[in-house]
Every structure is written in C-alpha cells, then in structure tokens.
C-alpha cells in the first residue's frame, strides 16, 4: 500500500521510482541470505546490510544508466 502510494506520487511528479522488493526476494530465494539485518542484530529485520546495499546499488546503477542514455 505504501509502495503503491510512492509509485503514484513518483509518476505524478515524473520521478524515477525503484522498488527493490522483488529483487530482494529473488536474491533471498537464490542465496538464502537476507538483505536486512546484521550478525550482531537480528537477521532478516532492521536496516539493509552489505549484500542489501549491493542489490540496491545494482538497481540504482541500472536506473541511472537507463535515464542518462
């Protein structure tokens, strides 16, 4: 619901919207390693971790390349 709101808002203001949920989910199914949480907190919850940033970085890079072409 929150994602739908942001998606609508981005479209209305002609902003690029990146939803990493599917990518995070498919990465988890592939590697069984969550993209949230750390070894010193609870895995699978909280802030995104290094692999999570990697996934997000890839998505951002692809979006920037697509936009600047």
């Amino acid at each position: 619901m929150r994602q739908a709101f942001f998606r609508r808002y981005a479209r209305r203001h002609q902003l690029v919207f990146i939803d990493p949920s599917d990518e995070f989910r498919s990465e988890f199914e592939r590697t069984h390693q969550p993209r949230h949480g750390f070894q010193n907190s609870v895995m699978g919850s909280g802030h995104i971790n290094a692999p999570g940033h990697e996934v997000l970085g890839g998505l951002l890079a692809r979006a920037i390349v697509a936009e600047t072409r």
């Binding site: 069984h32 390693q33 969550p34 949480g37 070894q39 010193n40 609870v42 895995m43 699978g44």
Partner: protein, 468 residues
C-alpha cells in the same frame, strides 16, 4: 513481579526497610508472610486463596498423621494430602493436556471436546512438590509436624523461592525456624553477592542469548545447519544461565533475610556422563524425584529390569513435571533411556577409577554427554514436534542451506561461559566471588552494572522456569 525487574527492586528495598525497623522475631515473620503473599498476589491475587487452601490442608493433614496411631489411618491421611496436591496440579496444569491428548479418541466417538480456559498458577509445580515433601516426611517419621501455622505458611509461600524454586524441603526450612533472623550486615553482604551473580547471569547472559535463540526456534527451516547448531548450543547456555541465575537470586534473597536454601546447580556442563549431569542440574528436583518417586517405586532394590523401569517412570514424570506437553515427555524419556543405558554399562563394567582412560576418554565422555544433552534440549525448547523435527533434520545436515546467522553477542557470551566454566572447574567447582567486603569490589560492581546497562537487552524477560 520478576526478580530482574525494576518493580521488584523497589519491593525488595521496601521489605528490607520495614524489616530493619522490626525487632521482634514473630513480627518479622508476620511481615515476611504478608509480603510473600503480596508478591504472589501481584501476579493474580485470586490464587492466594488456592495457595493458602492447599497449605492449610497439608498443615492439618501432617498433624493428623503424627497423632494417628493406626498405620491405615496414617496412610489414609497421606492419601488425602496427595490427592489434594496432585488434584490441584492436574486441574490447573494438566487438564487441557489430558483432554487434548484424548481428543482424537473422544471425537471419533462423537464426543465434543472442550478447551477449558484455565490459568496456570505461577510456581504451582514447585510449591506442590515442596508441600508434598513435608507431608511425606512427616508420614515417614523423618520430620516432626510443625504446630505453628504461620511458620508453615511462610515455608510454603516464602517469596524468594515461591515461584521457581529451589525446591526447599520442610526438613531444610522448618528447623531454621528455631532461630532468630534479624537483618545482619554479613548476611546482607553475602546474599547481595549471590543475588548480583544471579542477576548478571540472567540479564547479561540468558537474555542476550534469548535474542538469538528465539528467532531461530521460531522458524528453524529458514536457517542454515550450523546456525541451528549454534542456536541449540546457545539455548543450552540460556536455560542454564536463566534458571541458575534465578536460583542464585533466590538463594541470595534468602540469605539476605537470614535463611539458607539448598544448592541447585553445580556446573552441569562439565558432566562426563548423564548420571553426573543429573547430580549437577536442578539438584533439588532430581533429588526430590529420587527420594519421593524413584525410591518408593523400588529404586534399584527389585532387580535390574525393574530398576530400569523405575528410572524410566521417574524421568517420564520428571519430564511431564516441566510442562503439559508431549515434547517434555519425550525429553524426559530420552533422559530416562540414557540413565538406564549408563547404569547398565556401569554395572557391567564396574565402577571406574578416577582418571581411568586419561584425558582422551574424559574428553570423549564429556563431548558425548554434552551433545546428547543438546539434542534433548531441542525437544524441551520446541513448541511442537514439527519444530523439533525440522530443527533435528537441520542439525543432521539433511538440508544445510538457509540463513547463516552467527550472532556476535551470543558467541561472545558462549566464549565467556566456557571460560567461566573452565575457571570454576579449575577452582574446584567454585564460581568467582565478588566479595563486597573489599573496597575494590565496589568498583568491580559498578563496572559490572555498567556492562549490564550497555549490553543487556532492554526490558526484563520472564524466567523460563516461571512457566513450570
């Protein structure tokens, strides 16, 4: 009101302040009785009546047993007490378990099975066993029935050991009533040291491990095999620090108030066999089961086969004592089988001499015992058999993939636990002491409190054994 909560510290401060102003021993015991019932009533005041009711029955029954001369009458009074105590236990703790277990049978016969809304009174398993041991001891003639209802009620309801033991017997507590119990500086100091040791075990060790253990046991299928092994190891440490921490706090509180409670743990993780484990783990329960169940069943006096049956029956009931669930029964059964197997081999081989086999054999015995105890904890901790099955299949590396989570704090606590255990073993089973008599110890205490404040998880988690 749990011992590691802020409200308990306020409660304890008030109790000590009131007692410091009371000079008369009788008045002091009255205060202790009232605050003990307040402590229990804080959770649910309605159960104070249940508590007092069973106490009154056992008090009167014990006196009847002592005055009755005919063995049949004595037996009849004992039976009355056992029915009353076990009846309360069955109704409040096991009714839904029995109904639920019989449900498939009843439903196939067309009988609708209700689920009764019964609240489990806190500490019911502990105070029932405590009270029963008193009546049985009077029946056996090893203890005189007390003629002081106030003292007996205090014995059953004394707040330090009210909800989760140690299981103090009448023969251990009531003779202490022959003495005065003024607040003494030496007792307060020694008691506070023990209490702080228990608080540290609970707040810093057990609660930190719970942060790791709970999510893994909630969804074991999601985690990698090594993570499951680490979580089960962490649970073994958690339950030890949680329960022995509570026991230390109870013993410390008793000591502050001038009472001595029996030891409940002697570094069980160093055990070299399962028999030794039960001589070191929850000693007041294992000795209770031995004296009031195993030996009356015949113990080892009726042949080898009967000894194994008695051991199994004792451990099955010991498992069921922990909780109304088949997972606890399986846990007890596994320990029963292990005790029987150990007894079988010990009897065949004869008693081993100290140091026989050397270090390699000792290490092998320790590892075997430790891994066995770990595996049995899976049943103890799992909410159902499906969770236990998944956890065990993960531990057997049938499906090793999953989230690899090696919680830094849990590993730190486990390393500390190993170091503390090794240091205790090297010191002849003695734990490190704070010794508040030395000025330097207060700096140590301040540092310890700072560490707890910085690293212990927020909030106070209930003790695991409160649910039993």
């Amino acid at each position: 009101m749990i011992f590691s909560s802020f409200e308990f510290f306020v409660f304890l401060g008030l109790v000590l302040a009131i007692l410091s102003q009371v000079r008369d021993e009788g008045a002091r015991r009255n205060v202790l009785l009232v605050v003990s019932y307040l402590f229990y009533g804080w959770w649910d005041w309605r159960f104070c009546f249940l508590r007092f009711g069973t106490t009154l029955i056992d008090y009167l029954v014990a006196r009847r047993i002592e005055t009755a001369s005919a063995p049949r009458r004595r037996r009849a009074w004992l039976l009355a007490s056992l029915i009353s105590n076990l009846g309360v236990l069955v109704i409040f703790k096991y009714m839904n378990f029995f109904i639920g277990s019989l449900a498939p049978l009843l439903q196939s016969a067309g009988i609708e099975v209700p689920h009764l809304k019964i609240i489990l009174p806190v500490g019911i398993s502990f105070f029932t066993f405590q009270s029963m041991s008193y009546v049985i001891d009077v029946y056996r003639g090893s203890l005189r029935a007390t003629r002081n209802l106030r003292d007996f009620t205090l014995f059953v309801a004394f707040f330090p050991q009210l909800v989760a033991g140690p299981i103090v017997r009448g023969s251990e507590f009531l003779p202490q009533m022959d003495y005065f119990h003024p607040l003494k500086r030496s007792n307060l100091q020694a008691g506070m040291e023990t209490f702080i040791r228990g608080f540290t075990k609970k707040a810093l060790f057990a609660d930190t491990l719970a942060v790791y253990v709970d999510p893994v046991f909630a969804h074991p299928a999601a985690y990698a095999s090594l993570t499951c092994w680490l979580a089960v190891t962490a649970y073994a440490a958690q339950i030890y620090y949680d329960f022995s921490g509570y026991t230390d706090m109870a013993i410390g509180l008793g000591r502050m108030l001038g009472f001595e409670f029996p030891v409940n743990f002697r570094h069980p993780c160093r055990s070299l066999n399962i028999t030794e484990f039960w001589r070191r783990w929850h000693i007041t329960l294992s000795s209770w089961l031995r004296d009031y169940l195993y030996i009356p069943l015949g113990g080892n006096r009726s042949g080898r086969a009967r000894t194994y049956v008695n051991l199994m029956a004792t451990m099955l009931l010991g498992g069921l004592w922990h909780g109304a669930s088949w997972t606890f029964v399986v846990w007890g059964a596994l320990h029963g089988v292990a005790l029987a197997v150990h007894k079988f081999f010990t009897e065949r081989r004869g008693p081993s001499r100290a140091g026989e086999g050397g270090l390699p054999q000792a290490l092998l015995s320790w590892a075997g015992t430790f891994v066995f105890v770990l595996i049995t904890w899976v049943f103890f901790r799992s909410s159902d058999f499906d969770t236990a099955r998944v956890m065990l299949s993960k531990m057997a590396f049938f499906d090793p993939s999953g989230v690899r989570w090696y919680h830094v704090q849990a590993i730190t606590v486990l390393v500390l636990a190993v170091l503390l255990h090794v240091s205790a073993v090297l010191r002849g089973d003695r734990s490190p002491r704070l010794d508040l008599g030395r000025p330097l110890a207060w700096s140590g205490l301040a540092a310890l409190l700072l560490v707890i404040l910085l690293f212990a998880p927020f909030g106070s988690n209930p003790f695991i054994y409160f649910q039993f």
